[in-house]
Subunit: 277 residues, 2 copies
């Protein structure tokens, strides 16, 4: 299928049209992230419009870059589309990509389109570090642990969809909302971070494993908050001495944050289940 | 599924383990290429071993970089694997990736693994330009047009497989052979190039369209040579004044090349069919 001409080539810019995209970079550190977003694995046919699919596939990838304190710049798109995909669907898909590109100032520089039974998207994001890289491995003993926004909405939306119900277009399952403004502002005060994709419990366990530390809850969270995956809120840790500064930056950027645990020595074992579809 | 731990994390290096891979680059030009390689689209179950699948998915991507005069450095892997994939199959897949990484000096820096009905691979390659970027758009009026190696073997292998036959492990359909040594040596004498992925006729039409030129055949080629896709030989053009130098570099690198056309003014229309699976 030559849907490539209909989608990727429409983002016409000086990068597109050859085997690869040539990009001149200044000396510096780049961050590369890549995620697959596929029908049957991440969503079922009918759950999301083509525009929502494009939007979410982009945002879950941008989220990885943001949570490392990197600013997304370029995108490579791999698309698998069923042969019966209509012109209107392709146009909706393109609009979803284009809207996110506009909002985040990123450019699609190339990719590949194939025919496939199910819809599949592979998104690679090339980002520039804004300052220090915030890693999963940076948590320090005594750090406070917090998350942005509200958790649970994605799992709630997923359950409704699994039960055959309808979900509003602003449901977190359909439309992640990145907290890039807060995170970029606070990044130099943050020791470790990652986005909440598998569920807070599972993701905190990953962060602790990478940081070789434990964690103790100082606030009771609901099962929904602990287990809801694909939230794309940010889980992060910071020194107690930066608490006032972090809270002030959260207020300034109108970002809700919840401090819920403390980093300890030892190991952290989550008994959280991860609720992906 | 957490097959990510079984595959990508096994390529343990300082890049892996976070949301994205941080890479420090010197100032310079990088080339980004991305291709999907999927069961049902590029091969059927049983046609290729897991090792051959990994190898071919990597090589078709490295081929894009080579044909632009770029040296592949880093790889991001997106893998979709059926739930019943065995440990032996995963190990074979890993060996296929590792062998290509060793041969070409590339490092897998991250990626994503999901469960899926069919095998799907999305490979992103980050390469460094060795000198000038050789593009599809560089062909000049009067240039000679040539291709490396032999064409037709991939289509022959594909037809045998489609008819239920067996194909040797060194068939071009199973195992592309890149002509990187010749191409890197000759690149500064080459005006335009691309790899032969859709078939020589179709690919020459693409090159001519990008270069806004036509082409006239000066040698008769068989239908097999013109229509065989997924060859990963290199189609390239060069000035007649560099003919002796190109032929000498081909001899030195033991690379067969066939000069078969001349770039003209006007347009080139191929009536070639492209034989992908």
């Amino acid at each position: 299928m030559d849907k490539e001409r209909l989608i990727i080539d429409k983002f016409s810019n000086s990068f597109i049209g050859d085997d690869g995209a040539v990009v001149a970079h200044e000396r510096g550190r780049l961050v590369y992230s890549k995620d697959l977003f596929c029908e049957g694995t991440h969503f079922r046919a009918g759950w999301l419009s083509m525009e929502e699919i494009a939007r979410k596939a982009m945002l879950v990838n941008l989220s990885d870059a943001v949570a490392m304190n990197a600013e997304p710049k370029f995108v490579l798109l791999g698309l698998g589309l069923p042969k019966n995909t209509s012109a209107a669907q392709i146009s909706a898909l393109r609009k979803g990509f284009a809207d996110v590109c506009d909002e985040y100032g990123v450019t699609i520089i190339g990719g590949d389109t194939i025919g496939s039974d199910k819809i599949l998207l592979s998104v690679t994001i090339i980002s520039r570090l804004r300052g220090k890289a915030v890693l999963r491995s940076g948590a320090k003993n005594g750090d406070l642990v917090a998350f942005t926004g509200e958790l649970g909405g994605s799992l709630k939306g997923l359950r409704t969809l699994l039960n055959g119900g309808q979900v509003a277009s602003n449901s977190r399952f359909k439309r992640p909302v990145l907290k890039d403004k807060f995170f970029y502002a606070a990044a130099d005060k943050i020791n470790a971070a990652m986005d909440v994709s598998d569920g807070l419990g599972t993701d905190l366990a990953k962060l602790c494993a990478q940081s070789r530390c434990g964690a103790k809850f100082i606030k009771r969270l609901s099962k929904h908050e602990l287990n809801s995956g694909e939230e794309y809120e940010i889980l992060f840790t910071f020194s107690t001495k930066n608490r006032a500064k972090i809270l002030s930056l959260a207020r300034k950027t109108r970002t809700k944050i919840t401090i819920f645990a403390k980093i300890t020595k030892g190991k952290f074992k989550s008994n959280a289940r991860n609720h992906h579809f």
